[in-house]
Amino acid sequence: MDNVLLARTIFGSSIAFHIIFATLGVGITLMILLAEIMRIIRKDDDYGTLAKRWTKGVAILLGVAIPSGTIVAVMLSLLWPGFMEIVGQVIALPFQIEIFAFFLEALFLSIYVYAADRLSPTMRIISVFFVALGATASAVLITDAHAWMNTPRGFDVVDGQITNVQPLAAVFNPSFFVTSFHVVGSAYMTGAFVLAAVAAYKLFRGGLSVREITYHKKGLSLSLAVALAMSVYTANSGHDTAILLHEHIPVKLAAAEGLFETQSNAPLAIMGTPDPEAGRVVGGIEIPGMLSWLATGSTDGVVRGLYDYPQEEWPPLFVHTLFNVMVGIGSVLLLLAGVYWLYWFKNRKSEKPFPKWLLAGIVVSGPLAMVGIETGWIFSCTGRQPWTIYGFQLTSEAATNSGNLGMLFILFVSLYVVLLVITALVMHFYFNRNPVSKDLHSIT
């Protein structure tokens, strides 16, 4: 592998690892806040137990989220010095403000976890509110940097020198709001589905006391309420993101959809493989006019195709599959959450247990949502290739020229594998040792 490809692989795998823990950090802290609020509204301590156990889970995850985040932050300068030289001059603000979001989250999380018994109920809610705010703000801010890479603004390049810097124009670049809404929505959605999956797994396995069943059902319903709302929101904001691509980075949309010819009445291709020779997607399903309609609001709208661009500016064409997986997962999960609530509504008067197929579906939804996050991000970053800063800096210009990358790649990937295994083991040991029945008894 050449240096640039190695750097891309190291960075891509590191951030793909970080995003697992980071997304859960954003999603689950929102759920903890909601559980604390429910506890007060319903005067029901089961929600307090939910909050407590979810917090323990988050504390374990943060043991990896924080150092892995530190890795990616430092790696950004190590692997992409060319990129960071421009970042430091143009888009340093979100990175800086993000630090304060981290402080907010870290301080209030320690307070919430280690001083919980010394806080009044209101102070507890305030603390956990700031934890959730800090986590969400850090997601929004880092997404701002990512959005700026897609639609760079706020500077001019004259003879290779950066001039006329306008920090605020860079921060409020055209894709900032749309992209960060989609990112935050999908993180909330994923956190909710993952917690729903845990509760569904307990109910699916059975052998629970009546007390435990009511407890897990409360967890399941709270999670799936958020999951449903956020699925609708994510699909909707995803649509806005696609329109944004159409307006600002048509070549990415074209690669996502495998569209080669610029045309009106452009079809939406589902699955299949884009074939540059044939000029279309082979082996997929095509819905005529649908892409034009989605991107422009009318089937007559013209959508630009890949042939409009020189081939060296095409992203790798497999991003079509990544995009389809993300959208597919979004649609399936939306449906699943909808089915749960339909079922719940029809049977709300009876004590009937949920059918096994529904529970099994929910168990799978957690991992699926995470796959959605991963494919979405890899699509977005790989779909930007060959550019690191769209239209300004090629990835090859951003990369480091230092050696030793092969060794570092092996070092970090083995670290990630080991940590994934150990984190799973620790979760398993902890929650086995401290079953929920213990917490429930200690309260009633």
Binding site: A59, I60, L62, G63, V64, I66, P67, T70, I71, A73, V74, M75, L76, S77, L78, P81, M84, E85, I86, V87, G88, Q89, A92, L93, F95, Q96, I97, E98, I99, F100, F102, F103, L104, A106, L107, F108, L109, S110, I111, V113, Y114, A115, R118, I162, V165, P167, L168, T400, N401, S402, L408, L411, F412, L415, L419, I422, T423, V426, F429, Y430
Partner: protein, 344 residues
């Protein structure tokens, strides 16, 4: 002051804060390991009680430092990063292992022993690696071939200044953390733990000082320019020595609470000593980031970005300082937290 000097001063403040917080944090991890088997003292559990709420916050200081370097001096970050990619990656690797295993050792008691050992040992290796990058930045160990630069590892590893810097880093870490933990034990009213850490501090103080002096004098053959600059900073170095002497003696001052010593005074004065000395060291390093190629002027960001960042730090600090104070009160002062029997 010129913007570039404001920026480098802010960077130094962040470096100083991380050096103190990091030393104490890594050192506490080491002490938690060192005393893990001892049932006759609460030294390990006091160290853990300090660590539990504080390691995340300490880590944010590290990120703060990195981000400040990249945003104020993008050019320097690029060069330093390229040159030091391997040691920095090793630090990141160890840091991740340490944080993860430390959190996990609180969570599952079953493997605590192994996890505590791993996090304690990495707590020594990380500062050692960080400090060993300092001598590499004073020049003499960097070779330029074409447009690429390499560190001359053989020369670095055989030079005395490398080892005096290393010894200085490690002894400072253990000295500062022992001092702080003695103060912490004092707040927790744990007399015998206080004496354990006070004794450690008494032993480590002179060792730290000798390594510091050794580090300066072994610089002469490697970087005479820096030694000359340091001679101009004699006033700061003298004040620093004075702070050390008074701070160290505070360990014997009469006290109402414990049988002997005022640990709070000692911690503050030794931190001051460290601040004065590191400021003098840093000033002597100016205007170079990396001797002789990279100066702070070349690496500086543009003025507009500089002022935006300045405003950003101002607002951010104004919001966060009250939270820090509350945090401090909850964990460093609140008797209910300090005196509980288990670490949680």
């Amino acid at each position: 002051m010129e913007p570039v000097y404001i920026a480098i001063t802010i960077l130094w403040i962040f470096l100083f804060m991380y050096a103190i917080a990091g030393s104490i944090d890594f050192g506490a991890g080491f002490w938690a390991m060192y005393y893990r088997k001892r049932t006759d003292t609460k030294a390990a559990s006091i160290a853990n009680r300090y660590l539990s709420p504080s390691w995340e916050v300490t880590n944010v200081f590290l990120v703060l430092l990195v981000v400040a370097l990249v945003s104020f001096f993008p050019g320097a970050a690029a060069t330093l990063g390229t040159l030091m990619i391997v040691p920095i990656c090793l630090v990141l690797f160890l840091l991740t292992i340490r944080s993860a295993f430390m959190v996990y050792s609180y969570t599952v008691q079953k493997y605590t022993n192994m996890l505590v050992i791993i996090s304690g040992v990495t707590g020594l290796l990380i500062p050692a690696l960080l400090i060993s990058m300092l001598p590499a930045a004073i020049g003499g160990f960097v070779e330029t071939v074409g447009d690429r630069q390499y560190i001359l590892l053989n020369q670095l590893f055989t030079s005395p200044t490398f080892y005096t810097h290393l010894g200085f880093g490690l002894s400072t870490e253990l000295f500062l953390s022992a001092l702080l933990l003695s103060d912490y034990a004092n707040e927790a009213n744990s007399e015998e733990t206080y004496h354990v850490y006070r004794r450690n501090a008494i032993i480590l103080g002179p060792i730290t000082l000798s390594f510091a002096v050794g580090a300066i004098f072994t610089l002469i053959p490697e970087a005479f320019w820096m030694f000359e600059n340091m001679a101009n900073e004699w006033l700061l170095f003298t004040l620093s020595l004075l702070a050390f002497a008074i701070g160290y003696s505070a360990l014997w001052w009469p006290s109402k609470k414990m049988s002997i010593g005022k640990p709070r005074v000692a911690v503050l004065l030794i931190a001051l000593q460290f601040g004065l000395a590191s400021f003098a060291y840093g000033s002597a390093h100016m205007p170079y980031f990396l001797y002789p190629n990279v100066t702070i002027y070349d690496a500086f960001t543009n003025d507009i970005m500089f002022y935006s960042l300045l405003i950003g730090y101002g607002i951010g600090m104004a919001i966060l300082i009250p939270v820090f104070i509350w945090f401090w009160k909850l964990f460093m002062k609140d008797k209910r937290y300090l005196r509980q029997d288990s670490p949680h």
